[in-house]
């Protein structure tokens, strides 16, 4: 009796979540209809964003989102792998492991607006100095600044999932490899990473999803220029950031609906990445 009751409750909540997801999609779609009707799929390739004359194109933001997220992903990759290996293999317990783990958890707990402020007042001047040395226009803010901060922010997610996956590698597998004369490096490379691969990749995609939707930090350091960036040192803008910036004061119908259209596109991009992640998980599963 209670068993059945419990099961039904679980089912109910499960359905509610699916239903909510669907509802979000539907309401995004219906609210963006005016813009979809006006610009159609061309919206994806137009690069003008002019609220005064009601001409809207999403390309600068879509590109900005993809570039910052992927760049953040690439920048964070070596760090993610090292932390994963260090915590999963070399320091599974003990003093150093504790400290490292706590620090990484702490990064995840910093509110993004704090990272944004730190970025704006501490990190941006450093980037400006570097840009002066490189001989590019020293804005300080821009795509590269946002990407580096994003990389820092997404690190804890993939690192902690990756670490757990590494620890799940069965002891006898490792011991078998050692008994065959494998060095530690060979065990990591040939046994542990392949075994934990799907977990590591899942963590990376989770963090990529976070990078795609991050708003506050990006808004503060990307320079908010609504045009296609010519280089990674230029200011740009992302979907999440332009929505956060313009939604509150968007007055005309078309402006609001174009912003929601961008939201719909972000929704779809995130979904696409999730599907790719699922696919990769299946493919790499041992």
């Amino acid at each position: 009796m209670i068993d059945k009751f419990f099961k039904n409750i679980l089912k109910l909540f499960g359905f509610i979540i699916i239903f909510l997801g669907l509802l979000i999609f539907l309401s995004l779609f219906s609210s963006s209809l005016p813009s979809i009707k006006k610009f159609g799929l061309k919206f994806l390739f137009l690069s003008d964003w002019d609220p005064v004359n009601e001409v809207f194109g999403g390309l600068p933001f879509i590109l900005g989102t993809l570039i910052t997220s992927l760049l953040a992903f690439i920048i964070s990759l070596p760090f993610i792998l090292s932390v994963t290996i260090i915590l999963g293999v070399y320091f599974t317990e003990g003093f150093i492991a504790e400290i490292l783990r706590h620090i990484i958890d702490l990064i995840a707990a910093i509110p993004s607006v704090i990272i944004g402020f730190w970025g704006l007042f501490v990190f941006v001047p450093i980037v400006r100095e570097v840009e002066l040395l490189l001989g590019v226009t020293p804005y300080g803010v821009g795509i590269i600044t946002a990407s580096i901060l994003l990389a820092f922010m997404i690190l804890p997610y993939s690192a902690s999932i990756g670490k757990d996956a590494m620890r799940l590698v069965p002891q006898d597998l490792k011991e078998a490899a050692f008994s065959l004369g494998a060095t530690k490096w060979e065990v990591i490379k040939k046994i542990m990473i392949p075994y934990a691969r799907s977990g590591i990749i899942a963590g990376m995609f989770l963090s990529l999803g976070r990078a795609l939707g991050e708003t506050m930090v990006v808004t503060m350091v990307i320079g908010n220029k609504n045009s296609i960036p010519q280089s990674i040192f230029e200011p740009g803008n992302t979907i999440a950031s332009v929505i956060a910036n313009e939604f509150a004061e968007a007055i005309t119908h078309l402006h609001v609906s174009s912003l929601i259209y961008l939201g719909l596109i972000l929704f779809l991009i995130t979904m696409l990445f999730n599907i790719i992640a699922k696919f990769m998980l299946k493919k790499f599963k041992i």
């Binding site: 003008d48 964003w49 002019d50 609220p51 005064v52 004359n53 704006l120 007042f121 941006v124 001047p125 400006r128 804005y139 300080g140 803010v141 808004t219 503060m220 320079g223 908010n224 220029k225 609504n226 200011p235 803008n237 950031s241 956060a244 910036n245 313009e246 939604f247 509150a248 004061e249 968007a250 007055i251 402006h255 609001v256």
Partner: protein
């Protein structure tokens, strides 16, 4: 389990009773962030004096207008008046009641931050990206008291949609045909040059960091943070230092009866040219959505108080108060608010 249910239920019913009993009138408003500090102060005093609670959410002018249109609030607040087109989108007439004035100032980052004088033409050309260096001869010719460096100008604008941007671009559109055609007026515009910072603090943050940058912020924000502020030449040819007096002067002109007027580039000789009213928006006919007469009456009383007794609060908070001419107009507008077609106060 049972006990828990009883407990939850009783908690819930207590909460419900409280809610039903507390049918005292509460007014709800939403809109502009710019006058938020003043409104909080005014509503706080009002609650202490009259016992009427006013809940104001500073969600931005656009949000305030949308909420008023949906009739989910008793009043909206906006830094920009509704265009004729926007008024048509409302099903019944909407009134604008001016409450106070704000100004937008130009702030910059130059060695030693000297006092700077700017003309409308120079400002437009800087923000169009035509004047690129601080030692441009046009800037130098009216700022002979300082030695301007050979430094690139970086324009900083607001990235978020904002009433501040509206007032500033409205000014630029008035003083320059080219600006009006190329960019126009709006809470967000397509900027020809420069980078964007979120909010007054974002713009200030960037200006403080980038040598040679120039941007615009609210007067209050600039004063409280002691930022360097430039003098701007007004229509009468006088260089005016932006402060609450010169802002108030800008509005002391002949106003239309509905107060829907942009006072940028003012005709007043002593007025600072980048000033603007901020308005509260209400429906002219207050009987909608089954609103009670009492509620409508309280709303009208509140508005009356805000433009009369309430006017002693703006100056302490660095807002500019309404000039006498504007107070008269505001009073007349409040008198025109009706319930079932009859005026609420006379």
């Amino acid at each position: 389990m049972k006990q828990m249910l009883v407990f939850t239920f009783s908690c819930f019913s207590i909460f419900l009773c409280k809610y039903v009993n507390a049918q005292k009138i509460e007014l709800l408003g939403a809109g502009a962030t710019f006058p938020y500090v003043l409104y909080s102060k005014m509503f706080d005093v009002y609650y202490k004096e009259k016992g009427i609670k006013v809940n104001y959410q500073s969600i931005g002018s656009g949000g305030g207008i949308r909420q008023l249109k949906e009739k989910t609030v008793d009043f909206g607040a906006s830094d920009a008046f509704l265009s004729d087109q926007q008024i048509k989108e409302f099903k019944s007439p909407v009134l604008h009641i001016p409450i106070c004035l704000g100004a937008v100032v130009l702030t910059y980052n130059l060695p030693n931050n000297p006092e700077l004088y700017l003309t409308p033409e120079i400002i437009v050309d800087i923000f169009l990206g035509k004047i690129k260096k601080w030692n441009d001869k046009r800037i130098v010719s009216i700022n002979k008291h300082v030695k301007l460096p050979d430094l690139s100008i970086t324009v900083i604008h607001r990235s978020d949609g904002s009433g501040t941007t509206f007032v500033f671009t409205d000014y630029l559109s008035k003083v320059s045909k080219e600006w009006k055609e190329k960019v126009g007026t709006g809470t967000s515009v397509s900027w020809p040059t420069g980078i964007g910072g979120k909010g007054n603090e974002g713009v200030t943050g960037l200006i403080k960091q980038i040598p040679g940058s120039i941007g615009y912020v609210e007067l209050i924000y600039a004063k409280q943070n002691k930022l360097p502020i430039s003098f701007v030449r007004n229509k009468s040819g006088k260089f005016i230092k932006p402060d609450i007096n010169s802002t108030s002067f800008a509005a002391n002109i002949d106003l239309p009866d509905d107060t829907r007027i942009s006072i940028t580039d003012t005709d007043n000789e002593e007025g600072y040219p980048i000033s603007s009213f901020t308005w509260i928006l209400v429906y002219k006919e207050q009987n909608y959505n089954n609103r009670s007469y009492e509620k409508a009456k309280e709303l009208v009383n509140l508005l009356w108080w805000m433009v009369t007794e309430g006017q002693k609060y703006p100056e302490n908070l660095d807002y500019a108060k309404l000039p006498p001419k504007a107070v008269e107009k505001a009073k007349n507008i409040i008198k025109s608010i009706t319930y079932n077609g009859t005026p609420i106060i006379k």
